[in-house]
């Protein structure tokens, strides 16, 4: 739909007529007029939304390249900050002003599918001969819904690693290589916890593993905590530990129908996190509520912090802090583990120009665009050649992502972000519950009762 006020008067009148027509059936009109037009001529203007302003320039490059190949289509890119993005998308659905194509997130898309707001892409892709097996393993499957239809083409992915402060390590007499082979278990935390304890420093200069350590006056925490308890998935807080215990968030993924928050492996992991807070090795939940952990890391208050690959550039940009990267620890399974989260581009069902919209999605999902994105060195594109380009771009900046973030992809130690229905309700139940364990108000086994509430959402 035309979002530009620069359209000439005639076009505006036509658009107005279209608007008035569509108002009678705001949400309902979903005539699949598309089936025939796939592969046909695409023309006109389409709108594309994304939330990461750091990526807007490179997607503009993609749009320019796309325009060169499809001179009759014009792509208008709009960026909203994350907080406003979803409000605008939802309101756009209701009012019929949503963008033709938009960047979609795994935590949102199941509900959009249920509400019938996304256009299935299968027929178009088949007609255009677009393959979906060209992406990093597993990423494409995430975007096939329960109805067996595909609602997005992968664009990029993220994994989790440890960022560490080189100066703090040096002070503690720890070699950087020591961080590469740490092991963890939920009982005593393994060599990982020993490392965290040793890197923790109080105001009197005592380390966390020394006698006389004052946990009420900690100057540098061995391990940071990323802004909260992580709710039901703990992506950057605890998923890299729980993933090594053999525990899975749901019975199957994607589209599980039962959550496993009642299992001892999970509750043991959460209890271990709580124990770090009690020992003074990790900041309390109260003290990090709502915080951006990156800034605290930038202030030199954390020796190590687990965070996602989308934070790389920011974490390496702080003045006065030399940052290093290490993979997450090896757990009871004998392997490392990282949540694997992917973004995709989706087409809105109400798009007035689906032919052009699909062409643009296909282009965004192609190596032509993803190699460009990779070269810009911001995120990891979903196509292997793009991932390699990104890896090389980071390496050129002196950042070694291959042995930290990408090791999970090469070793196959990733597990997919849990996708189920009722995702936001699960989050709203689990966040306070896990918070309560982190703050010491409840024991980890209290999560069993919450798990029943969560699973009741799927039986009701």
């Amino acid at each position: 739909m035309s979002r530009s006020t620069r359209t000439k008067a005639g076009a505006a009148v036509a658009a107005f007529a279209a608007l008035t027509l569509s108002l009678t059936a705001c949400a309902g009109e979903t005539t699949p007029s598309a089936s025939g037009s796939a592969g046909g001529q695409a023309a006109g203007e389409i709108s594309y939304w994304l939330w990461d302003s750091n990526q807007k320039p490179v997607y503009q490059q993609c749009a320019d390249a796309f325009a060169a190949a499809n001179p009759s289509v014009k792509v208008n890119i709009t960026q909203y900050s994350w907080d406003d993005y979803w409000t605008n998308v939802t309101n756009g659905f209701v009012a019929g002003t949503a963008p033709d194509v938009f960047t979609n997130h795994l935590s949102k898309y199941p509900e959009f599918v249920t509400q019938g707001q996304l256009e299935p892409l299968d027929e178009y892709l088949a007609a255009d001969g677009v393959k979906t097996d060209v992406y990093q393993k597993g990423l494409a499957d995430l975007w096939v819904a329960q109805d067996g239809k595909r609602y997005g083409l992968p664009k990029d992915f993220d994994t989790v690693a440890i960022f560490y402060n080189k100066a703090v390590l040096k002070d503690a007499g720890v070699a950087e290589a020591d961080l590469q082979k740490l092991t963890w278990n939920p009982t005593d935390g393994g060599t990982y916890e020993k490392m965290i304890a040793h890197l923790t420093l109080d105001a009197n200069g005592k380390r966390g593993d020394e006698a006389g350590f004052d946990k009420s006056r900690v100057k540098v925490y061995g391990l940071g905590l990323d802004g909260g308890s992580g709710g039901g998935n703990g992506q950057t807080q605890w998923s890299m530990y729980s993933g090594t215990t053999g525990w899975t968030v749901t019975d199957k993924n994607p589209w599980g129908t039962a959550y496993n928050y009642d299992k001892p492996e999970f509750q043991g992991t959460i209890a271990w996190m709580r124990s770090l807070i009690e020992k003074g090795y990790m900041p309390s939940l109260e003290s990090v509520t709502g915080q951006s952990s990156a800034d605290i890391f930038g202030a030199g208050k954390y020796a190590m912090i687990t965070n996602g690959s989308w934070m790389i550039n920011q974490m390496f940009s702080y003045k006065g802090v030399e940052t290093g990267l290490a993979p997450t620890p090896i757990g009871p399974s004998g392997k490392r583990s990282s949540m694997y989260n992917g973004l995709a581009d989706s087409v809105w069902v109400g798009s007035k120009n689906k032919a052009a919209a699909v062409k643009w999605v296909e282009f965004l999902g192609s190596a032509a665009c993803q190699d460009l994105v990779g070269k810009s060195g911001v995120v990891f594109p979903a196509i292997p050649s793009g991932t390699d380009a990104a890896s090389a771009a980071f390496a050129a900046k002196g950042i070694d992502v291959a042995s930290s973030f990408l090791v999970h992809v090469t070793d196959g130690t990733t597990f997919l972000f849990p996708i189920t229905d009722n995702a936001s309700q699960v989050t709203n139940l689990m966040t306070p519950a896990v918070d309560a364990v982190f703050t010491g108000k409840a024991r980890a086994d209290s999560l069993t009762a919450v798990n029943e509430q969560v699973n009741a959402l799927f039986t009701g």
Binding site: A27, T90, S287, T289, G290, I296, A299, S424, D435
Partner: protein, 279 residues
């Protein structure tokens, strides 16, 4: 007719959406689907919803703190403004916080009050006190949110009171000072009663306004930790927009609306806002 334009604006942009909202509160309605009539089921569910009662309680705590401090401080500031100086610069300075948005005010204070790198906590530690997790601690979180809002609104509210003070004719004070009453007693005997219409208005507006607190929580604690800052507006937002239960969220809004209506009516009656002692 004098009220015609306002009436038009009222009917189109307030009355109609409100009636629609009342209708939705009786339905099971996902924002993108079609509403399904379920009568009073939503309201029955609210009665049994512990999170609603928690949200209501948290909100009341917030409103009490916010209104208490804000009204007293605003009164003091307004009287100070009137008595001490006519300086516009000073008046403007006090209004400054109101020139920035809630969101920014919250972010600035969040940064200043941060447990680890916030200036206030560095100062606390320097004075030998222990650090306080202002936004995260169960005890401090709501007072802190209230503080941020008092900070942003106190100059503004003071200006409203001040405007009210200006309408009190000088002869009233003169009569008082001829009677030999002190400034203190004439404040209680004269100023405060004469301020009644304006104060009533300010109270109604600030009370209803603070029941709708949202921004400050949304950009700082997001309702946590656990549920300590989940104020009612934030709960409505979570239900309506995040979980897509628009019918239930509308019912919550209706309950909030009714509570506010009762409170406003009470306030107006108690303060007899309709009359001025002068007229």
């Amino acid at each position: 007719m004098f009220i015609a334009p306002a009436l038009l604006g009222f009917v189109v942009f307030y009355l109609y959406p409100t009636i629609r909202g009342f209708y939705f509160s009786m339905t099971q309605y996902n924002i993108l689907g079609t509403p399904k009539w379920i009568g009073f089921d939503n309201f029955a569910r609210i009665g049994k919803d512990p999170l609603f009662w928690n949200a209501l309680w948290v909100t009341i705590e917030y409103v009490a703190l916010n209104i208490g401090f804000q009204t007293v401080i605003a009164l003091v500031l307004a009287v100070l403004m009137q008595r001490l100086t006519k300086s516009t610069v000073l008046r403007g300075a006090l209004l400054l916080p109101w020139l920035i948005s809630n969101v920014i005010a919250a972010m600035v204070w969040f940064w200043l009050l941060d447990y680890q790198i916030g200036l206030v906590n560095q100062f606390l530690e320097w004075t030998g006190l222990s650090r306080i997790a202002f936004f995260g601690d169960e005890f401090w979180a709501i007072p802190t949110v209230a503080f941020v809002n008092v900070w942003r609104h106190m100059g503004y509210t003071a200006l409203l009171v001040f405007a009210g003070l200006q309408t009190i004719p000088r002869y009233v004070y003169e009569a008082a000072s001829i009677d030999g009453s002190s400034e203190w007693s004439s404040f209680w005997r004269m100023t405060l009663p004469l301020l009644r219409p304006v104060l009533a208005m300010i109270l109604v507006i600030t009370v209803t306004g603070s029941f709708q607190v949202f921004d400050t929580v949304a950009v700082t604690t997001r309702g946590g930790p656990v549920n300590v800052t989940r104020v009612i507006q934030y709960y409505i937002y979570q239900k309506g927009f995040a979980e897509g239960q628009f019918g239930y969220a509308s019912a919550l809004s209706v309950v909030l609306f009714l509570i506010l209506a009762v409170m406003a009516a009470l306030q107006l009656r108690l303060l007899r806002a309709g009359e001025s002692d002068l007229a």
